[in-house]
């Protein structure tokens, strides 16, 4: 579907609890092979969302920001979580050197700063985070792209 025909679902997250609740919804429907792309400026809550998601997937280890290490795999939960952060990368070629696509088929892949790479292929869901008007408020735009994501998201949004 062309970009302009797709409409994002926009949600206001008024607190950390709201963010955790949304993540919890995702944790219920995620399956091996799913890809979530995260965009939005620094400090808008991408990692915070993924931490809540990891907890609800049953991951025991502490999930921290992978900006420096770029890619981590956590496999103590219901499904392995492949957590990627492209913040430090500058172009498609650098991104393709990391090798996180090896884990697409065996994990849920969540990618922060996904707009640093131009060659992601659907199906995926894009979650774009923005600051809201108050300190703990965030606005998230959720854009399903391809596969049966439209159907699957209906149950949790």
């Amino acid at each position: 579907m062309p970009e302009k025909d797709r409409k994002p679902i926009v949600k206001t997250l008024s607190s950390l609890e709201d963010t955790a609740r949304l993540a919890s919804g995702f944790s219920r429907i995620l399956e091996t092979g799913d890809v979530l792309l995260f965009t939005g400026e620094i400090g808008t809550g991408k990692t915070t969302f993924i931490q809540a998601l990891a907890r609800d997937l049953g991951i025991r280890e502490r999930v921290t920001s992978p900006t420096f290490v770029i890619h981590t795999i956590r496999d103590s939960g219901r499904i392995p979580l492949s957590h990627v952060d492209l913040y430090r990368l500058n172009n498609d070629d650098e991104v393709e050197c990391i090798g996180f696509e090896e884990y697409y088929d065996t994990a849920v892949t969540v990618i922060e700063w996904a707009d640093r790479y131009s060659r992601f292929e659907p199906p995926y869901v894009e979650l774009h985070f923005e600051y809201g008007s108050r300190e703990e408020e965030r606005i998230v735009s959720i854009l399903p792209n391809g596969g049966d994501w439209n159907e699957r998201l209906k149950d949790i949004l």
Binding site: I42, T64, S65, T72
Partner: protein
């Protein structure tokens, strides 16, 4: 001539490809780090800034150069040590494969080293003396933790970051202020010219030994969204807030554990502001030790020291050791609050 034993150490856990020859008393005979040499000129081709492929390109040249500089032949080595984690899977694999291949080809013991433990040993290189018990602060781009060691190698994790490392916060704030990544050192410098006038949070200041720096980053961003800011003043406010958190936690650890040394390691330990803040007497009479600047950031010399320690206390590692991207520090004792 009384010749001390030497080993070859290899490190490729993140950005740096590095190799070193280290003596059993932790004297560094040679230490080569890829970013510190003109890779392009030396081995040709385009080497991307950050990529696991870079390790493949650089590995043999770095090992050769460190062997040549030390005038060491394979038969002079007592072991081959390598970082097996934590780190980026694709990057770790290159160093581990090289080390395993060399240990096999040269029939030398293989020693698997924890990168975090390597950092802790960086302050003991080249004859620097450390007294135990010690409290370590490891602050780098990827890590932020306080560790207590009753004696060398006996670690108790007091606290870690819940989200970002302090180095990451530095680099991200620098980028927001318009400086190229990694701009941590620029923020430090800029902060000397500004005033502490933006009210930034000090998350988790009074809550145990864990850190949280993500809120600081958001606070800077939100302040900038409100309108024009003075970069120098923002740098100062940020540095003051970060240093406040680090030194408060260290003071608490010194009071509670009464160590003989405080050892500050990792890339951020290069910061002149952190160094002066922690040596201004506010930690009391304890000796405060920093590694020499070249061993603060990732290098293989520290892996060599940790490798020697491990080789002597626990022997060689089994050949089948896997790579361990999420490896944590081996603990002798768990902190009471995570039981």
């Amino acid at each position: 001539m009384d010749k001390k034993r030497i080993l070859l150490a290899i490190e490729s856990s993140c950005d740096e490809t590095a190799a070193a020859i280290v003596q059993e008393d932790f004297t560094v005979i040679s230490s080569v780090v890829s970013s510190q040499i003109a890779l392009h000129a030396k081995w040709g081709g385009v080497v991307p800034g950050i990529a696991s492929k870079q390790h493949v390109v650089a590995m043999n040249g770095v090992i050769k150069e460190c062997m040549e500089k030390a005038d060491a032949a394979p038969e002079d080595l007592s072991a081959v040590a390598v970082t097996v984690g934590p780190g980026l899977p694709g990057s770790l694999a290159t160093g581990i494969s090289a080390a395993k291949a060399l240990s096999l080809a040269w029939s030398k013991p293989f020693v698997a080293v924890n990168h975090l433990e390597g950092h802790l040993f960086s302050a003991e290189l080249d004859g620097a003396k450390v007294d135990f018990p010690a409290v370590y602060l490891l602050v780098s781009g990827g890590h932020c933790m306080i560790v207590y060691a009753a004696e060398r190698g006996m670690y108790k994790l007091l606290g870690t970051t819940l989200d970002d490392s302090v180095g990451e916060a530095y680099d991200k704030v620098a980028r927001e202020l318009g400086f190229e990544y990694p701009g941590g050192p620029i923020i430090d410098k800029l902060s000397l010219q500004g005033k502490d006038r933006y009210a930034l949070p000090r998350p988790m200041l009074d809550r145990g030994y864990d850190f949280s720096f993500s809120g600081l980053k958001s606070a800077v961003r939100r302040e900038m969204d409100k309108g024009d800011i003075v970069k120098e003043d923002m740098a100062t406010s940020f540095v003051v807030a970060s240093m406040d958190v680090l030194s408060t936690k260290l003071r608490k650890a010194v009071r509670e554990y009464e160590p003989r040394s405080v050892i500050v390691v990792g890339g951020v330990s290069k910061s002149p502001i952190l160094r002066s803040k922690l040596t201004d007497g506010s930690l009391g009479k304890v000796q405060v030790i920093f590694p020499s600047l070249k061993y603060s950031t990732d290098n293989a010399a520290m892996i060599g020291a940790a490798g020697w320690w491990q080789f002597k206390t626990r022997g060689a590692s089994p050949d089948h050791v896997p790579m361990m991207p999420t490896l944590s520090l081996p603990l002798a004792e768990r902190a009471a609050d995570d039981l």
